[in-house]
């Protein structure tokens, strides 16, 4: 195995332990598992109603939770917690210099850190998607659940949600890793991004595409109906009324964005200095 591969594996091993086992990361698990709470309630109190037509309601309910809460809140803030800490957290702990004093190229360090972050984020957030999926649909009974998954659209929907969650982690993760390297207080650019993503619904069509949430929404398999009276209300901030992009285009665009941002992060890392007192 080449040296840089062994180094990346070593970085992942060090950082994964910190991400998965750190007490200060507990809120990320809670955030990822939060959608399960209403689903468990739904499961407990909706057991008597297993009519076939309710499965369609659950498909809509899942889509609402996924698009309004999971992508915009859970994954967004989860990635803030995971990826910003990869560099900025170690600067605050005064332990980043141990990496910088190892015979490792800074580009390899950025790659290793990103891979460790993305590994943790994928396990947490994609794992939660699968739990939510089973949580909301399994109470319809295994037979109905089985036919919904295949030959019904369930399996392809699940795959689309997993792809959207994964690309959200990659897209937001790369941006927050870069922000952690670039800014002393990376929460400020994160807040600006949150506002931008939230305002996206009221921006002109061209500007809507300059966001991550637009491309993620394009990957989601179920489009949300506009609630009655939503026009002109706060709902406008959350709803996209332009055509979604094809899934392949959306996926490639998000991957290209992440690659571009990671290159910027690697360039930044090459000139990184350790001056903890100033940080």
């Amino acid at each position: 195995m080449t040296l840089w591969r062994r180094q990346i594996l070593a970085i992942i091993r060090i950082d994964l332990a910190k991400t998965f086992l750190a007490k200060r990361g507990l809120w990320i698990y809670l955030l990822a598992l939060a959608p399960l709470l209403p689903l468990v309630g739904h499961w407990l109190f909706g057991r008597g109603n297993m009519a076939n037509d309710q499965l369609g309601d659950d498909v809509q309910a899942f889509a609402v939770i996924f698009q309004f809460f999971y992508l915009r809140i859970a994954i967004f803030f989860g990635c803030v917690g995971i990826f910003m800490n990869l560099f900025r957290g170690e600067m605050l702990d005064k332990s980043l210099h141990y990496y910088l004093l190892a015979p490792i190229r800074r580009e390899v360090l950025v790659a290793g850190k990103f891979l460790s972050g993305i590994s943790a984020a994928l396990v947490i957030f994609c794992g939660s998607v699968i739990l939510q999926w089973f949580g909301i649909f399994l109470h319809h009974g295994t037979q109905l659940f089985g036919s919904f998954m295949n030959p019904g659209p369930g399996l392809s929907h699940l795959m689309s949600y997993l792809l959207a969650a994964a690309l959200a982690c990659i897209g937001y993760g790369s941006l927050f890793l870069w922000a952690g390297l670039r800014y002393k207080n990376p929460l400020i650019p994160a807040a600006i991004l949150l506002v931008w993503e939230s305002l996206n619904g009221v921006l002109p069509a061209v500007l809507k595409k300059i966001s991550i949430i637009y491309w993620l929404k394009s990957i989601c398999p179920v489009s949300l109906p506009t609630p009655p009276g939503a026009k002109g209300s706060v709902w406008n901030l959350l709803i996209f009324d332009i055509d979604p992009a094809p899934v392949a285009v959306a996926s490639i665009n998000l991957l290209l964005l992440a690659a571009f941002v990671l290159i910027a992060a690697a360039l930044r890392a090459r000139t990184l200095e350790i001056s903890y007192a100033a940080d």
Binding site: L21, A22, K94, H97, Y98, L100, L101, A102, P103, Y276
Partner: protein, 312 residues
């Protein structure tokens, strides 16, 4: 290829604030101490040597390699910083082991090197415990173990004796000596000047971002011509000897030692004073010893930098 640490006209500014300025140094193998007051630029110089800071001007090379080539540079360099930060949740062994893996060693070599370093730092018993429970001295020693674990040719240590108890200090100084004798460069910053005397083959004295003196302490002392040399003479008749010396032109000052068992003489020419002393010794004074009293780091430091403030 040079085997030295070379600072070539290196400067570092933090915005408008001077870190170090126009430093030209060539440091040979052995133990070199960086001495200077707070803010004199010692840590900046060490961080530049370790590649943690980028110079505003100039360059640094170790054995002909620059920090821009990290895969070679950090294989021969180890640095124990003064930062008291550690990755959370690790034991002493896990800490040394985890960062050794970044060097690409095999698992068995990594384990062996980690235990070797931990043994040299005297922490085998504490190694399975979490670092969060370590004393200051133990944290200093585990940092030292981490810095030496890959057997670097150049070891940079920022205040490595801080927080160590007397026994650990003695053991650590012995380790530095051993590393120096093995041909390594050991670059140490310390504010405990009598330990600098004990440890160092050479010193670099810094003040306000500039190097004010470098070399072996005695050599540096010889070059301070505006300060008369101080010589301590142990003898059986110090009062008589003082009376004999008062009117001699070679002697600037003569005073009895605090224990009244000797005489402290200040002279502008040690050589002519020794000749004079030979004559006086023939005159019935039994001289036990004659030794320079101000060619230690403390004296040289006070002559060059002054004794205002501490030396950290």
């Amino acid at each position: 290829m040079s085997s030295d640490i070379v600072f070539d006209n290196i400067s570092k500014f933090y915005g408008e604030i001077l870190g170090v300025n126009k430093v030209n140094l060539t440091i040979p193998p052995g133990i070199t101490s960086l001495v200077g007051p707070n803010g004199s630029g010692k840590t900046t110089l060490m961080n530049l040597a370790a590649g943690l800071l980028r110079p505003t001007r100039g360059s640094v090379e170790i054995c002909g390699i620059s920090p821009g080539d990290p895969e070679r540079y950090f294989r021969i360099t180890g640095y124990a910083t003064q930062y008291d930060g550690f990755p959370k949740g690790l034991t002493g062994y896990q800490f040394v082991h985890a960062y050794l893996r970044l060097f690409g060693f095999s698992p068995s070599d990594t384990e062996r090197l980690a235990w070797d370093a931990i043994d040299r730092a005297g922490l085998r018993e504490a190694a399975p415990r979490k670092i969060a429970g370590y004393s200051k001295g133990m944290r200093q020693r585990i940092k030292l173990a981490q810095a030496i674990a890959h057997k670097p040719k150049v070891l940079i240590l920022d205040e490595p004796l801080n927080g160590l108890d007397p026994l650990a200090r003695a053991e650590t100084i012995a380790l530095f000596r051993q590393l120096g004798q093995e041909g390594s460069h050991v670059l140490i910053s310390s504010h405990i000047l009598h330990e600098v005397d004990l440890i160092s083959d050479q010193v670099v004295m810094m003040s306000q971002g500039y190097v004010v003196a470098e070399g072996q302490i005695r050599g540096v002392r010889d070059e301070i011509s505006d300060q008369p040399m101080q010589i301590l003479i142990r003898c059986d008749k110090p009062e008589y000897l003082a009376s004999q010396l008062f009117d001699k032109e070679q002697v600037v000052e003569a005073k009895l030692h605090a224990d009244r068992q000797g005489l402290l003489v200040r002279t502008r020419s040690a050589e002519s004073f020794y000749k004079l002393l030979n004559h006086i010794a023939l005159d019935g004074v039994s001289i036990e010893s004659v030794a320079p009293a101000d060619d230690d780091a403390q004296s040289v430091y006070e002559y060059l930098i002054g004794n205002t403030g501490d030396t950290k």
